[in-house]
Amino acid sequence: MNGLSSSLFLPAIVFLPLIASIIAFLVGRNRLQGRINMLFALLQFLLVILTTVLFLSEQSYQSSRYVIGGWGAPLGIDLVVDGFSILMIALTGLLTLLISAYSTSYFSEQFSSEQKGLRFWPLWWLLIAGLNALFVSGDAFNIYVCLEIIGLSAAALVAIQGTRAALEAALRYLLVGLLGSLFYLLAIAILYRTHGTLDLMQIAASADNGLPDKVAMILIAIGLLLKIALFPLHFWLPQAHANAPTPVSAILSALVVKASLYVLIKFWFDILGETTTFGASQVLGALGGAAILYGSWSAFRATQLKVLIAYSTVAQLGYIFLLFPLSKYAVGGSSFSGSASQAAIYFIVAHACAKAAMFLSAGNLILSQGNGEIAQLKGIATREPLNVLVFAIAGISLIGLPPSAGFIAKWLLLTTSIESGQWWWVIVVIAGGLFGAMYLFKVLGLAFTSGTVDTGQGNKQPREHVSGVMTAVAMILAIITLALGFNAEFILNISNPIVEASSV
């Protein structure tokens, strides 16, 4: 088949956002800025759809390689897609389109100064370029560069608000990101010394479970766990995600943490799969369990709406880490396969859509209410019924109630933990669901309580109704979250043959 590997789709996925970034920078204050960016978002989405269709039409979802400049693996850099990465690319394309549409409205003169939009768009496209490049990259050092592009542009995006809290959160986020990347870079240096190549598949082929491989895996795990914000290393996440502008919060929670997770999953199960042990997987699973409980509890105690959602991200990331012990044990310690991997990938997709919907609707509620205090949300359901509905649907998915994507994801997690005989994870998953219900119903309960808060309402005039586009985008994401619940098989089938596709 000469589908993806010979066409220019894969490099175009990386280059289109880069071009968009430069043009957004050049266009500057022009009034056409919003339209040009929408055009690029549409183009990008079209490209991603074509690539996905092309990938799916190829036989048995084999991984495709594109050799840049015709140099080939040891010297040149290859672009590689398999089932997992094509899902991430499709997800990025979809969220880019929707959040771009949201941002044209969010950064219009009605809601913010023109200055912020001016800073937002070039950084936004740079972030998307970094994400896309990461998902198609087949080269260990190239992944480092992508991680840094993502980290730098994400930190700058957090700082856009310009308040002291936002700047401080951005600085901490940046320093943590740089630290994590340096750990990863040292691991790559060690791998290059041992294997003499940077190509992921060649490293995987010659990995022999020696001491250098083990050290490299530990360094990669430390570095990426910092960036993913797994429980004890989550300290930077809530402030960074809560102080960013709403579209940035959405993409940070939905995709940016998942990018590091994607790299970790690749190394842990595919490339250095032999170095990981049952014990190490159990440790990651235990940290994930702790993240679920601690994140949910902190979300329950939060007083700011966006902080609550950010802590919910900490908790939801914990679920994905349950996959590490489950898949290790379920298939006789071979590699990332079977239903545990399906559950994890499905969870990533489900959480990305639900969390983006939740952040966007929360942003609308905050705009409508004039501040982000949860206590001030009393009775908002009568004024913003659609946005509260979106928040509720996203919440249902996060808790894991049917019919939603989150329900299927949790169901898969539960069945795999029972099948693999590790019943203790079942308790964690169910307890996490209860905690999730606690903090989300706290918000919903307030929203549906009649009457308004008296304190300080007199001088604070609530803003006019949120623009239709912003509500519509949040609504579309909520509908997708529900639709994923009815259409799970499609995604499960794409993610299933990942082992055949990426094992050399």
Partner: protein, 109 residues
């Protein structure tokens, strides 16, 4: 012990010194510097492993170091910029509280 190995161990030493700096240092400026020390440690490691023999060099680690330096410059610049902005906000805040606390005294005089 070959000289390459010595340089590699020194590079790892720099990495550890930088890491302890990042974890312990109180001021942000020190943390940024410590991150740079960590980076330099890795670069030294890479350059040392690039030497295959007396006159044969592997160009790939050199390319990695060059790219790494560019990234380190970008990261450091952004971090310093954010640090200075936070400092400026604090300064104006301090100035304002100072003026406010100065006002009542004048009235009393």
């Amino acid at each position: 012990m070959t000289s390459e190995l010595l340089y590699m161990i020194a590079g790892l030493g720099l990495f550890s010194i930088g890491l302890s700096g990042v974890l312990i240092a109180g001021h942000v400026m020190r943390k940024i510097l410590a991150l740079n020390v960590m980076g330099v440690g890795i670069f030294m490691f890479l350059i040392a492993l690039a030497r295959k023999s007396e006159s044969v060099f592997d160009p790939v680690p050199h390319a990695m170091v060059l790219t790494g330096i560019v990234i380190a410059v970008a990261g450091t610049a952004l971090a310093l910029n954010l640090m200075v902005r936070i400092h400026n906000i604090d300064e104006t805040e301090l100035e304002r509280t100072r003026q406010e606390s100065a006002k009542p005294e004048k009235i009393e005089l």
